[in-house]
Symmetry: C2
Subunit: 305 residues, 2 copies
């Protein structure tokens, strides 16, 4: 039994009001697999890099029990590279550079040893590639979680709608939910999106928390108010990885477990933004995680008799 994460493993160069980095390791699959590794031991990656990607960074993943057999290394090619600059509010950013490189013709290979996949995390990639991965699984995983973004709604909506039909959970942000549904009210947006395939919809609202919708039920999760958001890169992927990692750990899929999974995902994301890139995610202790969960409980608990 395993949790397979597909997404980018890449280089980022990040500029925030607090400083800037050279090329550092990033990518949706990197963040999501690291986050999931705190809850589940059998995390496996499907991704592609060039031969410029440092072996030491791959070992970092392996040290977290992340299986990288499905990480293709293309000789003579370069890894995906993104450079961006965050505005002062940290909620908006400009993309400075996008070099697709190896991602341009990424054909995901699913190693035989990954065919025990029970939990599948489709990180943000073209909907076509996400679909290919589902189709290459001999047996449909028990739970498929899909991340996507406005970019694919703009240029590949038909593919996206097809892929949506094949998944159990969709995780997108509020403006994406509005774009996908054509509804401004998030309640109406959720009603529409839940007719498109997924049984569960998570709407991520960044500093305002997240909403979970399913079958007439709604859960509102808080975000931890932070004095400083150092670098928001990867927070959404970390959230998704923590979410599915926690569900893989508990093994039963229902609304109550999803609620807790959202709190665990939010807790991991709150660590992610404390430092540049994946730095904070590499060395958390179980005590760090449980103390942070305690803060979420305290933050949102009230008792009305």
């Amino acid at each position: 039994m395993s949790l397979v994460v597909i997404g980018t493993v890449a280089f980022d160069a990040i500029e925030t009001p607090f400083g800037k980095t050279d090329k550092i390791v990033g990518g949706a699959a990197t963040y999501a697999s690291l986050a999931a590794s705190y809850f589940y031991d059998e995390v496996k990656i499907v991704a592609v890099v060039g031969d410029d990607f440092p072996q030491a960074e791959i070992r970092n993943l392996n040290n977290h029990h992340i299986n990288t057999e499905g990480l293709q290394i293309k000789q003579g090619e370069k890894s995906f590279f993104w450079a961006g600059k965050y505005h002062n509010d940290m909620n908006s950013r400009d993309t400075l550079v996008t070099e697709l490189n190896v991602l341009a013709d990424f054909d995901p290979i699913i190693p035989e040893s990954y065919q025990d996949c029970e939990y599948l995390m489709l990180g943000n990639l073209t909907p076509k590639i996400q679909q290919t991965v589902i189709n290459r699984m001999h047996k449909r995983p028990k739970l498929i979680v899909m991340d996507t973004m406005n970019f694919w709604m703009d240029i590949a909506m038909d593919d996206l709608l097809q892929t949506l039909k094949m998944v159990d959970v969709l995780a997108i942000n509020d403006s994406e939910a509005r774009q996908l549904s054509g509804e401004y009210s998030l309640v109406k947006a959720a009603d529409k999106i839940l007719t498109m395939g997924p049984k569960y919809l998570i709407i991520k609202k960044g500093e305002h928390g997240a909403l979970l919708f399913s079958n007439g039920q709604i859960f509102s999760a808080p975000a931890l108010p932070l004095a400083e958001v150092f670098d928001p890169t990867g927070a959404g992927d970390t959230f998704a990885g923590g979410f599915i990692g926690y569900l893989a750990k508990v093994g039963t899929i229902n609304f109550n477990n999803m609620k807790n999974a959202i709190i665990y995902g939010s807790a991991l994301a709150s660590f992610c933004v404390e430092k540049f890139g994946t730095e904070r995610l590499l060395n958390l202790t179980p005590q760090d995680v449980s103390a942070r969960i305690g803060e979420f409980v305290k933050l949102s608990k009230f008792e009305i008799l």
Copy 2:
């Protein structure tokens, strides 16, 4: 013992994507006192209207046990009038008309029978008038809650800072908290504002809920996700009125009771936006309120062992 509410009692003309109204009754003190009346029987208003204000509307308040002895009626003058139009997102609006009328030289009179005031709600007005009301109370109330807005930060910041020193709770929205403190992070904004006088700060975030800060503690309250927001006018005043009304009912001021007060205030506000103006606030039953509270509990509850 009583709860005194000072603020506007006025006419509004409202246009939303769902329709428009002629002049209807509005004003911060109207919304706040109606909301408070669901929890507390001794609510008293300090406000001013012209002789164009219908007696029937004053009787509506009296029917909710709201004492209007402190409501001045200026013969030969007209009531405050505001007209506004909401944009499609319902989060932003344009002011079309503001006619100060009787408000231009409002001198609040505190009837002798109001001097038993234990709970004082300072609705949004010039900080000078808010201060005058505090000074005209023979005995300092047990709890003073203050609402204000960016407009006073722009043109009367010194007065506002003086008034702030005299209150216990400040309730403002997120952009106002940022403007008042000069800090983007709400955690840092709260730290600064809590050195300016109030012991408690409520940051209202509309559809994203509210945050309560005090002495290193934070509470994050959800907002009820609504399929339709029909008319947001008065939601903030309704929230504040429900908040202080609930505290007046329980009688003990501490962080836990404040948390519940925020949930009760949010519940009343969620009714307010369902219809134009005060319509929905005029005829709620205790069952309506407790069912809505139940929705808030269900919405935000999770149990991590």
